[in-house]
Assembly symmetry: C2
Homo-oligomer: 372 residues x 2
């Protein structure tokens, strides 16, 4: 089954590559599914690349073809918004390793004419960025006015400045980190083990069967989802509120609203995401350590870039807390980069960047308009 058939009609390009990956493998072809909004100006100066998070996709500001839901960042991207197709040429591509049309474990390995499965090469955040650079070449975009992302998207934004310093004039890195911590890795490992523990995973070779490892993937999503929300936010939203019934059931149905909510998060996720992609992308994020790629010193990653940086954190984000953003800012200062940093207040934890965040919008709007 082709990706186009599985995931709807996408803008999609098959580039010959080969793309040399950090792990040593050569990826060829390099398939990239993407969306663009707006028009590149004659000077080629108004391109903004949006990088999506772990389970995100290219549909940043347009309807998702499978779920029918609006784009995932229409609060920030759209007419009248800080990133505006009437002013900017906006590009958002599905990262390699993912499952919305870009090369990943569910796409066809031309050498075997079968899905890659677990023979797909392990990738890194930098590999995702390299693939995006190939797409920009294809689109005729030399330099980006800005690269913008939250969470794993923020990692890509930082990696862009480090990997292609001459191609980025500004970086917006939101709710992110320059390295995955032991606790971050631990949560991802729980998710991977949940997927792999599902007998339907079949060593990743489940595409021929109409029976994917949905139960394991749902558990993985549930565990991860807890890290996206703040303890205070969960308490405010659910507390110990029971479901519609009046009293405890003294059984194992979802008695508490938070249980029902989490189960829904798990179940709805498996409809839109591929289990193997979850393994590959969490692995890429766990491998992310921008300092390590540059001699062990984070400032080293920013020595070449002349980009301006805008770093945003949220006070209740315990996945990538403000301390992680401060580490980025200190390294940028050490490297002599221009950086503005703000910690915003929100009850919503890590997910805050995807929700209504007027202050974040103001910060990003001001930062993008301030271009020298």
């Amino acid at each position: 089954m082709s990706d186009d058939a599985r995931f709807g009609l996408l803008r999609h390009v098959r580039l010959p590559g080969p793309l040399r990956l950090d792990g040593g493998a050569l990826l060829s072809p390099v398939e990239i599914a993407y969306e663009t909004y707006g028009t590149l100006d004659p000077q080629g100066s108004n391109a903004i690349l949006i990088c999506h998070a772990l389970t995100g996709d290219q549909h940043v500001a347009s309807v998702h073809p499978r779920t029918g839901k609006p784009g995932w960042w229409t609060r920030l991207v759209g007419p009248g918004r800080p990133i505006d197709p009437t002013r900017h040429f906006i590009i958002c591509s599905n990262v390699i390793g993912s499952c919305m049309g870009s090369s990943g474990p569910a796409t066809i390995n031309p050498a075997t004419n079968a899905p890659w499965g677990m023979s797909f090469p392990v990738i890194t955040i930098r590999d995702m960025v390299r693939a995006q650079a190939l797409l920009l070449d294809h689109l005729g975009v030399g330099q980006l006015q800005a690269v913008v992302g939250g969470s794993m998207g923020g990692m890509q934004a930082l990696s862009w400045a480090a990997t292609f310093p001459e191609r980025v004039r500004a970086v917006v890195a939101i709710a992110t980190t320059a390295r995955h911590t032991a606790q971050n890795i631990a949560f991802h490992e729980v998710g991977r083990q949940a997927v792999m523990a599902d007998p339907r995973w079949r060593g990743g070779d489940y595409y021929g069967h109409d029976d994917p490892p949905a139960a394991g993937l749902a558990v993985a999503r549930m565990a991860a989802h807890i890290t996206y929300l703040s303890e205070a936010g969960l308490t405010e939203k659910f507390g110990r509120k029971l479901q519609a019934r009046e009293a405890k059931s003294f059984g194992f149905d979802a008695d508490f609203q938070v249980e029902s909510y989490l189960r829904h998060q798990g179940i709805s996720f498996v409809d839109r995401f591929d289990a193997n992609s979850y393994l590959y992308i969490t692995r890429a994020v766990d491998y992310f350590d921008l300092a390590e790629e540059h001699g062990g010193l984070l400032a080293g990653a920013f020595r070449q870039t002349r980009a301006r940086f805008c770093v945003v954190s949220f006070d209740t984000d315990w996945l990538y807390p403000t301390a992680a953003s401060r580490g980025i800012v200190q390294a940028l200062n050490a490297a002599g980069s221009a950086v503005s940093f703000v910690e915003l207040s929100s009850p919503y934890g890590h997910d805050a960047f995807l929700l209504e965040a007027p202050e974040m919008n103001r910060v990003i709007d001001g930062f993008l308009r301030a271009e020298p």
Copy 2:
């Protein structure tokens, strides 16, 4: 297969009951596996009940018959320790719902002559305490000098003072809470879903097969284990350190030490614990809300007791943080109880109470010796 055969020779009593449970069911018989250390003095005044945590057992100060490991709290309990068999009559029983010999899903339902499985009634923390009271009756212990517990053991200790106010002279509640929060419930729900997602769980009816839902239970344990450790502790212990190999494998083996550690935690757990018991005990903990049992006001739980309280929290415990202990202390103050409260510093998060904690020992020793 009898529990004695599965879990080694235990001190075990089969009490006729029936025990009326919070859920309405009558449990009969009530089997309790327990250990005692020391001798009850002629006045019957030196009995100390130790309550174990979620996956703990009665082997508080003696070798575990299955794992061969020393008792789980020998740092606090033993000759020359704050709780000392040369001075105290120490009792520790396996909670009902568990799998070390007390009535639980793995024991035999006399009505069917088969293991209860998921037909075992859902229990509460208070039900565990009621079963312990039956054991004390059996042992001829009228009143406890103290009831002592950490984590879920602390919940039982608090519930003892609320449920049998006349039978407890002192309560030591460590690293615990008076109610499970939405985030606490969420983590437990992930664990339960991981178990139930394992096809080997078979609706809880796996005892006849020699093939328990080990993979699901291991994932549940991994997720829970993260909550027992602090982020700082994980970083100090593991950081991003790789396994013995020199570089990343660009594969899905355990590259990082923290992955290998977590996998080990999961795998070793399934050798000593029953998956259905994990469901029942996490449910009991999620149901725990001491205020709710007493008209919605926590102070109401402590109106009857004249016990002295000692409440201990650890500064890096994010499962049951100091704020949860403060809530208990405020309610005790409101109820006019004598309470001493200390927050101790430790890098080890929730698990700190099980580790070397000289300050905790000093606090508990002083508190127990100060009896009027």
